[in-house]
């Protein structure tokens, strides 16, 4: 749990961090590959709608159910929409849902956990009880219940995904804050007259932050899977919108008649994205926390 940036001077620390990251990535080329994929996903998410060859919503019934070809790389669906364009355009929505939910749970779980670990007592008891109660549910099932109760919208998918990840973040943050509660630098800050909230903000939070970032990249993949799963069963995203989960659902019936490409390409895109985030998460953990390297 050595935080390089915190133990050395900022500028030298950054350089050391970059050197260290390069060393770790060099030792594990898979992380490099994952990073490359991540850049590709980022480009698709940012520029998707402008770089695709067809309008992802435009139907062309004359070309319906065409298998992959030079004109339509991934083929077309029942309405003749170009699947390649839809898969690329969908990146933005899937990526946004995942990032939004991870940032949300980072704020909720991270802050609640740090407060629980630092203050202990009732704060700790309440936060831990909430986390335990969420963990008592099979997580995907709870997410279904939340979306059903709050209403069938994309915002609620983000919220539900954040809530089911809450215990993970709260526990990591709580444990990290708890060990630092009586640490020398915290005692020193306390003796020099800093208030509890000031210590929490300027001493504890910066130290817990790197681990929370690792947690974020580790849960990104799961967040995408969860959101796609919810839209696969018909929650959240509405029909013509390109989104990987709902596109797989739309192509599911065609699997029986042999038109595999409708469900295959969005499913493969989803799989690659999740794979990339999982590898990236492992890589991030290696950089920040070398002891857990496998």
């Amino acid at each position: 749990m050595t935080d390089i940036a915190a133990t050395t001077r900022p500028a030298a620390g950054l350089a050391a961090l970059i050197r260290h990251s390069r060393y770790v990535i060099g030792e594990n080329p898979v992380t490099g590959l994952a990073f490359g994929l991540f850049v590709l996903i980022l480009i698709a998410a940012l520029l998707g709608p402008w770089i695709v060859p067809y309008d992802p919503l435009a139907s062309d019934t004359a070309a319906a159910l065409a298998p992959p070809s030079a004109a339509h790389l991934f083929g077309t669906d029942q309405l003749g929409r170009d699947i390649f364009s839809r898969v690329v355009a969908a990146t933005r929505l899937d990526f946004t849902i995942a990032v939004a939910s991870v940032v949300l749970v980072f704020l909720m779980g991270g802050l609640a956990g740090v407060a629980a670990g630092y203050f202990g007592g009732w704060t700790d008891r309440i936060v831990s009880r909430i986390a335990d109660t969420i963990m008592a549910f099979p997580l995907f099932v709870l997410a279904m219940g939340i979306v059903a109760a709050l209403g069938n919208t994309v915002q609620n998918i983000v919220l539900a995904t954040a809530i089911i990840n809450f215990p993970l973040y709260a526990r990591v943050a709580r444990a990290e804050a708890n060990i630092r509660r009586e640490a020398g630098f915290v005692e020193a800050a306390r003796l020099s007259g800093n208030g509890e909230w000031r210590i929490l903000t300027f001493q504890i939070l910066p130290n817990v932050f790197p681990l929370m970032v690792v947690q974020m990249s580790l849960t990104m993949g799961y967040a995408i899977l969860n959101a796609a799963g919810l839209s696969f069963i018909g929650l959240g995203v509405r029909a013509p919108t390109p989104e990987w989960g709902i596109m797989v659902a739309e192509g599911a019936a065609n699997i029986f008649s042999g038109e595999w490409w409708i469900a295959f390409f969005p499913g493969a895109a989803l799989m690659i994205a999740v794979f990339c985030f999982n590898l990236l998460g492992d890589g991030m953990r290696d950089i920040v926390d070398p002891r857990r390297r496998t």
Partner: protein, 337 residues
């Protein structure tokens, strides 16, 4: 032992209370006025008021919660809007289908993942180890509904080995007389091997889909835990004493390495029960997951609430069993408790 189990049972109580409160709150945050919603489009203010009264929505939150708990104690989860049937009877009749599928998937996963993890640890750096690592990383990245569809395409459409993925039995067969609700067991009890074969054939693809999904964490944990145990002093001592590799690995290392794996099973169950919903949708499996999905689409809330509650209670029970199992496998846990 018994005292331990009882003590553990007591710790379940606050968890169950939490679960009931959350499922209750889920209905209370229903957007809009539930009474207007239940009354349907052709409602008059009077009929809405009637329904509000009959639903108990004119009472305070505490009173409503009390009624909810009393209903639960009587085994009443409300009625489904779509079928008018009590949710409980629907869930009870569909539960065996889900349970059979989930357990089948889990058994395949354990049967593959544990030997794979042990081999990977014993022969560290070999091709088995690399296979294990790829399986562990790829397995958690696969969207379970996508794996299911791929298997259907390859084994049903292309190769024709699997039957049509439409439920528990082909239309030509009738279900065996119900004893356990598990078609595999019931057909054997009835002595109908043809029926056993047919239901087994239907079960393979969805079971394999769930297995691929839950393989990864089990294999990964087995490998990591075996590696740690194999590096320990007592394994070194056992080896130095000239015990055979088999005795060292199976008798000494394996039993100790199983403890973290059993703990992981709790997490695997959480994933498995969620993945079950998606697999049931892909394979038109008539379990409680597909029941909940149908209800979700129709905005029929009572079945969804009943489903979430049932799943949570099952999950709590499974975790309880895992904890008790832990005590059986590891005598130290018994002594400390």
């Amino acid at each position: 032992m018994l005292a331990n189990v009882l003590r553990r049972l007591v710790t379940v109580v606050p968890t169950l209370i939490g679960v009931v409160i959350v499922t209750f709150l889920l209905t209370r945050v229903l957007p809009g006025d539930p009474a207007v919603y239940f009354a349907g489009p052709a409602a008059t203010p009077e009929s809405i008021a009637d329904i509000r009264k009959s639903l108990g929505l004119d009472q305070s939150l505490a009173e409503q919660f009390l009624h909810y708990v009393i209903d639960l104690a009587h085994g009443n989860l409300g009625n489904s809007l779509a079928t008018g049937q009590p949710v409980v009877s629907e869930i009870v009749s569909r539960l065996p289908a889900s349970a059979e599928l989930t357990l089948f998937g889990l058994i395949i996963a354990i049967a593959i993942a544990i030997p794979l993890g042990i081999l990977a640890a014993v022969k560290q750096g070999s091709w088995v180890d690399h296979t294990c690592r790829v399986v562990a990383t790829a397995g958690v990245s696969l969207p379970v509904f996508f794996t299911g569809l791929l298997l259907v395409y390859v084994f049903y459409y292309q190769l024709g080995w699997a039957p049509a993925p439409l439920g528990r039995l082909n239309v030509f067969y009738t279900a065996p007389p119900q004893v356990t609700g598990f078609y595999l067991i019931d057909s054997l009890i009835a002595g109908d091997f043809e029926l056993f074969r047919a239901s087994f054939a239907q079960l393979i693809l969805p079971g394999a889909t769930l297995a691929i999904f839950s393989l990864a964490p089990i294999a990964r944990m087995t490998r990591a835990s075996m590696l740690a145990v194999l590096a320990s002093d007592y394994v070194r001592t056992a080896r130095a004493s000239g015990l055979s590799a088999y005795t060292v690995i199976v008798t000494y290392a394996f039993r100790n390495a199983m403890l973290p794996v059993i703990t992981t099973l709790g997490m695997v169950f959480s994933f498995l029960l969620g993945a079950n919903v998606l697999v049931e949708k892909v394979f038109a499996w008539p379990g409680i997951g597909s029941f909940a999905v149908e209800a979700l689409i129709a905005s029929d809330f009572a079945p969804v609430q009943g489903f979430v509650l049932t799943m949570a209670v099952m999950y709590v029970a499974l975790n309880l069993i895992i904890d008790i199992l832990y005590g059986v496998v590891d005598p130290r846990v018994r002594l400390e408790a």
